[in-house]
Symmetry: C2
Subunit: 281 residues, 2 copies
Amino acid sequence: MINSDRRLVEQQMKIALIGAGRVATNLAKAFVARDMPIVEVWSRTRASAEALVGQLHELSPQGQCTCKAVWGRVEDVCTDADLYIIAVKDDALATVAQALHPGRESALIVHTAGSMSMSVITDTGHERSGVFYPMQTFSKEREVDFSCVHFFVEAVAPADETLLSEMAFSLTQNEDFVHHSTAALRRRLHLAAVFACNFLNHCCTLSAEILKEDGLDFSVMLPLVDETVAKLHQLPPREAQTGPAIRHDDKVTGLQQAMLAHHPELQKIYTLLTNSIQRYD
Amino acid sequence: MINSDRRLVEQQMKIALIGAGRVATNLAKAFVARDMPIVEVWSRTRASAEALVGQLHELSPQGQCTCKAVWGRVEDVCTDADLYIIAVKDDALATVAQALHPGRESALIVHTAGSMSMSVITDTGHERSGVFYPMQTFSKEREVDFSCVHFFVEAVAPADETLLSEMAFSLTQNEDFVHHSTAALRRRLHLAAVFACNFLNHCCTLSAEILKEDGLDFSVMLPLVDETVAKLHQLPPREAQTGPAIRHDDKVTGLQQAMLAHHPELQKIYTLLTNSIQRYD
């Protein structure tokens, strides 16, 4: 990547952020921390737009960040930004893109969703469309370390795809974490991510439910969870498996199944996952 | 804990380890690293008994560890140890305990299994019985850091329970990680651990299966897994949940379900876990 390109990304391109949720919040903070100019943040409600803009101003005490809050109608967002990043709920994406297109025909408009096609933007008639998908779990409570986030980018125009790749690189500083991706691949990545993140987390929720009945807090399981995940950095998950299911210890799996008799839903999950583990033996 | 007690545990008590698998290997190494005298390691096969003993001797280059390898009949294990720790497969436990009892009536005999009752030892007629359960996932490839392992101990005699607690404390150096536990509680902990460890790991196996179809390695998911688990150190798992299921994003969950049409087993797991996440909303 040559320096002039990076300067373009980092200093000159005016970015408007459409959304003030988890993804938008984490992206906006990362952009401001790297002196990339966010000119506006839009949210449906005044409170959330102003809350995020307040956080961004705090991040730049010398006042470099002149970002404004906009709320209500998407049409009221400035028309002179170079890049519009739509980070709203999947089912609001089409409507927001539709409202954004008129008057901003020459700008690049992208969304950040894993399972949505780029066509949600091109369908509005917009030419310079793209996708900028950071594959990570975002929460308002934690600041995501973008140096560990894989980005999957896509754009109609090759030049725009380069620009999005450079922007991703500005955030991760790691070329191995910047990927081109079609909608089909991104959808499959998102599906795999649901298993590795949401379902993984839910196994912990169910574990916490079991412990709750004995008045125990889930924190007692954290060393076990940490070690399980540490192992995944050394071994493929299939080889890392331990426990009664993979040992085909029918006595213990039978006992554990019986212990869940009063929780038919948990019991069903237990049986299904136990059988599935044994199928990958 | 008074010093004289700890000296008793750390220097004088002769320990025989029955088993040379994952739990036995990790425990034995930790004992030797703390100068606790392992006098014998027994395994069914000569190769595995000698392999573990070889590792232990390597850990004590000044020859403090005089541990011997024994194999074949459990009856051939020395009769003069103070503590016998049985770390074998659950379904071999009863037979091993039965063979061990005669001639070792005055010793403390314990097992390390989460889901087995202490009665598997008391049923042999042995008086000084106990359980020493380290709640962790053990592999031969990784050395477990015992300072992060919760121990659940139980014994017929209160003095033996104290002794096992002290032994656990010697390994963890953290009183918050040493717990008394009945068989019933231990069984429930083990069940909760299956969800938080084995099922969690299996979600990653399934994620890896999905990625494999696109020629992608599971390592692409590791930053996501790490962040998901880092979040669990801050929030209860139920509150930490993200993704299409908890957002009730039926369009995406419907799409992802359809994507698994050629994997009926994965599809079943997807549906069950998605519904379960929504039930805990």
